[in-house]
Amino acid sequence: MLTPLLLEPALVLAGALGGPPPAAPETLALRAAHVHVGDGTVLEDTVVVLEGGKIARVGGDAPSGVRVIEVDGHLSPGLIALRDGTGAGSERTESTRKLTPTVDLARAFDPEHPDWARLVREGITTVVLTPGSSRVAGGVGAIVSPALGEVVKPGALVCLGASSRSLSTNEEPTSYAGLYAHLGRAFSEAADGSPLARAKAGSLPVMMEVVERSEAMLAVEFAKEHGLVGALVGLRRADGAVEAIAASGLGVVFEPAGVGASRTTLMSARLLHEAGVPIAFTADAESRGAAALRMAAAAYVRAGLGSEAALQAMTHGAAEIAGVSGSHGTIAAGKVAELVVWSGAPTDLTSRVLHVFAGGEHVYDAQAHGGQEAR
């Protein structure tokens, strides 16, 4: 099923791509009028201390002798872009095989690609690189930092395609039954310690691509049967299936609802959120643009999703689905120092990104760079 070449211990990659550890960034403090923690709460007039690339403390007074940046606006965690292929192009998709469940997308990460700067300018500090949609099991997604050009976590989650996009008319599988037969076989034959085996044990999250509700129902059933955790990705509408999805424990990741998205899609995010289902948005910046993520969030907000819920979907919710909520997604002590300073509320499209911090470094300053990227 898989060529040995593509099997590669993932951890080696991280070292190779990350390069030598950079000098520890300066310790500094940000005092902001509004701090959007990312989990739905907002703190007023709060100091956030960054030290050694991490958030050292939230609240209290600024430590003496440390540079304090006054933020006349809003502070939020860096946004997390689930499902993206910026800079990878056709390298995301091994089009000769429908199932390559162990390939790691960290291999397709081009840290020097100029398009990354666009994402950073839109406040995106963490990206989940995933294989293209046309595969049944295209590989494991890698979490990367576009601002630092580093792989944060290779082999972070298993990407499965269970929508009509993964079906062909001229290649097996041509049917949902065939697709699940292949998936079922791949899971039952997965070697110990392989991504699929770890997904089965619940230690590696999955992102299962589904578009139609009927596909979601099949995916929910499959996930239940194999004990999978993670999220459904790309669902267009959830009405009528909310109960089943909520019972499955899976999250739902919506594609960027562009201009003219249907009302049922826009309403679905709210329905799921109200039912307690974790929601997030994909970025797909390579095809839809770096601003699509915020545009999507704003469109859902206009359709009734709360502003903080939308921000949560782009930060803490996304981190949970990607399995990195221990280190990413909220402004809390111990988390990586990935922050965005906004001129207004983060989910308001009229707000501008003023500063971006990644790994404790000040990687983008709108004024200093005259609207251009920092890197």
Binding site: V259, G260, A291, A297, R302, D348, L349, T350, S351, G371
Partner: protein
């Protein structure tokens, strides 16, 4: 929800320009009353007189809708001009008063919100039109979008637009045609044209064939093939040629009218002369009876008339449209993105000093900023998340609207007609532009006052002022904020959407 009573009126009062709405509406009401009488349901008419009752459509159209008093913390008269804690009074489908201490008419419905502003206007839309006409890849300059208005199949779409506060659109047919035709300025709440013929829409770089491509993963994608650069310049030449032909046609018509008038005068003079001669001859009956009869024959047969009648130029609907465009009667919208093409359009149309040019798209318009400012050409921008900025003046990405505005160009924001529903997201597009550099007031202007002025409805919609049509929205916050809700939409003086529903 939009008032259900709007539906039936569409049958009777379709395509009624706003300014002349009264007469047909009265006729509609008459018909409805007649119908009510026939059905023995005169109660309809009586019910409708009771205040606050759900009156049937046509019956209520005869009367004025219930007066409205709209109170808000901020009333945006026009972008940048705000009244604090003021009330807007609407009576008889018009704004009758705005101010802090205005008298609320008796029986008025009171609406409250944080902000009141003019309804949003999408200057580049396909909403409200039959989908096939909107998508057409070939069309004629004289095709009228007003004839493609399809209120029935588009009802749910228009409803969503109203809920989003988009109360008017300039909708075009032939979105993928080089000559799209005459766009219609449409009121979304009831699919009534505010202006039947609001501009001539043309496009450069479209009309290529349908192509299919195989992408890297083996799936087939379909799309329109790109039109090559030479063809694009040829399309501009064609527009310019048509303008010249239109100018000549217009001149010919004017000349004809003059000649016709001259000829008619000549005839009248001659007839008078003959009449005199004839009378004189009759007096001298004995002597000259034969000659007078001969002269009289000529007078009766009127042979002399037709031979010298000036020839009317052959009617050409296309040239007639371009003649109006050249005259400045209709704005000319040209969809063009590349700087080279925009420059070429400006150059080729420089000779027509009354032409009112509007550029749509204008992705690299910044490179032609000086000329656009000099010629006073507005640009309709469609902010798109996928727009990539390469940092040079040819490609500003999402910064385009802000940069054009800063360069002194009048910026309008339109949804670009990618789909009918796209117009619903007009406020989001404007917000996106603000988030990437456009001044907030300029963004609001770009979707309210700007489109109204550029497309000839500035005296009626787009701003809040005494005497203007009551096309306004009541919001829970800043007009462009993503979290703002449209609490009420008022169109044609009636509450057509209420968030409380």
């Amino acid at each position: 929800m939009r008032s259900k009573t709007l539906g039936p009126r569409r049958h009777t009062a379709r395509r009624t320009p706003l300014l002349h709405a009264q007469a047909p509406l009265t006729r509609a009401a008459g018909l409805a009353l007649l119908a009510a009488g026939v059905l023995g349901q005169t109660a309809w008419a009586q019910d409708s007189e009771a205040p606050g009752s759900e009156a049937p459509a046509a019956a209520s159209a005869a009367e004025e809708p219930q007066a409205l008093a709209i109170r808000a913390a901020r009333v945006v008269l026009r972008p940048g001009q705000v009244l604090e804690n003021a009330t807007v009074v609407v009576e008889g489908r018009r704004i009758t008063a705005i101010g802090a201490d205005v008298e609320v008419p008796e029986g008025a419905r009171v609406l409250e919100g944080d902000v009141v502003c003019a309804g949003f206007i999408d200057p580049w839309s396909v909403a409200g039109l039959d989908a096939n006409s909107a998508r057409a890849t070939s069309s004629e300059a004289f095709a009228r979008a007003a004839d493609a208005v399809d209120p029935y199949s588009q009802e749910h779409v228009l409803d969503e637009l109203v809920r989003a506060g988009v109360l008017a659109t300039r909708s075009i047919v032939g979105a993928r045609a080089p000559f799209g035709g005459l766009s219609v300025f449409l009121r979304t709440a009831d699919a009534q044209p505010l202006l039947d013929e609001s501009a001539l829409h043309t496009a450069v770089g479209v009309g290529g064939g349908f192509s299919q491509q195989r992408s890297f993963d083996g799936s087939l994608t379909f799309g329109f093939s790109e039109v090559d650069p030479l063809q694009r310049l040829a399309q501009i030449d064609k527009i310019a040629d048509q303008l010249r032909a239109g100018a000549k046609y217009g001149a010919d018509r004017v000349e004809y009218e003059l000649e016709l008038a001259e000829w008619q005068k000549e005839i009248a003079d001659k007839e008078e002369e003959l009449q005199d001669d004839f009378k004189k001859a009759k007096k001298d009956r004995d002597k000259k009876v034969k000659k007078a009869e001969d002269d009289g024959k000529e007078f009766k047969e009127k042979k002399y008339k037709e031979a010298r009648r000036p020839r009317e130029p052959r009617f050409d609907p296309e040239k007639a449209v371009f003649a109006r465009v050249v005259n400045g009667e209709l704005p000319l919208v040209v969809r063009a993105d590349r700087a080279l093409e925009i420059r070429d359009i400006l150059k080729q149309t420089a000779e027509f000093d009354r032409l009112r040019l509007v550029v749509a798209g204008g992705r690299s318009a910044l490179a032609c900023a000086r000329d656009l400012v000099a010629r006073d050409v507005p640009v309709i921008v469609t902010p798109s998340a996928s727009a990539k900025s390469t940092g040079d003046s040819l490609n500003r990405g999402l910064g385009l609207a802000g940069d054009l505005h800063a360069a002194g160009i009048e910026v309008l924001i339109g949804s670009g007609g990618s789909s009918a529903l796209a117009s619903r997201d007009l406020p989001l597009l404007a917000a996106l532009a603000v988030g990437h550099g456009l001044d907030a007031d300029a963004a609001l202007h770009a979707i309210t006052r700007g489109p109204a002025q550029v497309f000839d409805l500035g005296a009626d919609v787009g701003t809040l002022r005494r005497g203007r049509a009551a096309e306004l929205i009541v919001l829970s916050g800043n007009p462009l904020s993503s979290s703002t809700r449209v609490l009420f939409a008022v169109s044609n003086g009636e509450v057509v959407h209420s968030d409380a529903d």
